[in-house]
Amino acid sequence: MRSGAALLEVQRLTKRFGGLTAVAGLDFTLGGGEILGLIGPNGAGKTTTFNAIAGTFGADEGEIRFAGEPILGLAPHQIAARGIMRTFQHNRPFAGMPVIENVLVGAHRRFSTSLWSVLAGGGRREEAELRRRAQQLVEFVGLGELLEADVSTLSFGQGRLLEIARALAGEPRLILFDEPAAGLTPAELERLGGIIRGIAARGIAVLVIEHDMRFLLPLASRVVVLNFGAKIAEGTPEAVRADPAVLNAYLGEPRNA
């Protein structure tokens, strides 16, 4: 990696759906250990941006670089292989597996034993080692009591924590959170904030797409505000909160087009 360069660089990202431009020439960067909040009203282009980074959809113009390498247009599993893991807004657990096995799926790319060695009886030590680390992650997010629990018995909030442990098991350098606060109780939100701070403290870059400003602003080290697909403000949470353009966008005051 080039020294001083940001881990994630989004440049002139543009995505159109038919006549609608969902994201228009978006630029931003993100470094390790930083928590970047991507906010904006409904339809501002947050999810489109998220999907372009995660590989769910492509883009029409622009570039996304991760550790200096272009990643735009790669499939989701290739993005994950490069060290970018994500959570889903609507929890997507693997319903047929207990909690610990779910987290081990997140570690999929950490396994180096080939299928042939597996068939020959190899890889048991690696399996045990990664299982031990997965267990630590389950404890880190506070689900240590539920290691062997069926995922269908988890509450919504516990399911969100499982999503986080599973993403962390891939030992990501960048983790993407898709509206992590949605549907959580105030107590769960507080715990979630602590976990996200803990992740960033490990040097992992964190990108949070969020609706809930009361949750995001105290958490983020920097915020990018989108409206109608374009960046209208960027800066510290305090600066953004006072920005007239942001107030306009959120309060819906009429602007001269």
């Binding site: 599993h77 889903f88 693997f94 096995e101 799926v105 999929h108 790319r109």
Partner: protein, 307 residues
């Protein structure tokens, strides 16, 4: 400890044929082969979540290929085995690669077509496949001057069954088995975790198809005849029924389902003749409506209640 248990299982299963008459020995052999097939199909359908109707066709590809390679082309025994496995893997790849690129039921459709096409090829294969009459009047070649026969050949089938189970258990308890279950449960989330969904499906399909082919090679010397009606579609559905009734996704379920549906006709046929298929249909519908986890699911529920 674990090795001891495998050894004990082998000893019991392999000793049994020496106490059976030739009729019951034949029933026992077929039962072992059905369990082997159901175990492999359970990995594909129950663990990896793929609906395919080609498992029994690959059993046939294995059976026919070993007979053709050995007695039509007169290849040496080890080469014939290797080529038979390679052929199964190749056909499996040719079907799986295009169909997993498409969404949903295309694998089911493609494998249904393959199973039908296989029967057509057998019937129209002329001297190579023996046409509608198939191939017969061959015998297992001697290995190191010994011709394995009678209960000793049943020991070969026991080895096949336990070998298949060992391979499937190894796969299931590794990152690969977990990836298969993840693909079954939620493909989008699996991809986000770095699992190459299409590749996982293709590998699971190819491996289980090759295992079915190997079982077919062993079967070829059970009846010492291979002909088109044996490998028809009704048996493809029977494997699916075995796995559903026993409990999809569980190795024990596949074993229980195979034993039940294989033995049921022996008890039902004297009572209701060929209508036993109706009972199978009712069992499958009952399993899907009442207990989607099959007989093994009922067993789990009972054990939980008693505990």
């Amino acid at each position: 400890m674990s090795a001891l248990r495998w050894l004990a299982a082998f000893a019991v299963l392999a000793a049994l044929p020496f106490f059976l008459g030739s009729y019951y020995n034949d029933v026992y052999r077929k039962l072992l082969l059905w369990i082997t097939l159901a175990l492999g199909y359970n990995f594909l359908f129950g663990i990896c979540g793929q609906i395919a109707f080609s498992h029994f066709a690959f059993y046939g590809v294995g059976a026919y290929s070993i007979v053709i390679f050995l007695f039509q082309l007169e290849l040496p025994f080890p080469l014939a085995i290797l080529l038979g496995v390679a052929l199964c893997a190749l056909v499996a790849l040719a079907v799986a690669i295009p169909s997993t690129r498409l969404e949903g039921f295309y694998l089911a459709l493609a494998t249904l077509a393959l199973a039908q096409l296989f029967i057509v090829v057998l019937n129209e294969g002329g001297a190579v496949t023996g046409g509608t009459g198939g191939l017969a009047n061959y015998r297992l070649p001697e290995v190191f001057g010994v011709r394995i026969a009678g209960p000793w050949y049943t020991v070969v089938i026991v080895t096949l069954l336990l070998g298949t189970l060992a391979v499937l258990l190894r796969l299931d308890r590794s990152w690969f088995g977990r990836a298969c279950r993840a693909v079954r449960d939620n493909p989008q989330a699996a991809a986000a975790m770095g699992v190459d969904v299409a590749r996982t499906k293709v590998v699971a399909f190819t491996l289980t198809s090759a295992l079915a082919g190997i079982a077919g090679m062993v079967y070829a010397f059970v009846d010492n005849t291979v002909n088109p009606p044996i490998f028809g579609l009704d048996n493809a559905f029977l494997i699916l029924f075995m796995v559903i009734v026993g409990g999809a996704g569980r190795h024990a379920g596949a074993v229980v389902g195979a034993i039940l549906l294989f033995l049921l006709p022996f008890f039902l046929s004297p009572l209701i003749g060929h209508h036993h298929v109706l009972v199978f249909g009712l069992l499958v519908v009952a399993a899907m409506l009442v207990q989607p986890r099959g007989l093994i699911g009922i067993y789990d529920a009972l054990r939980r209640r008693l505990a």
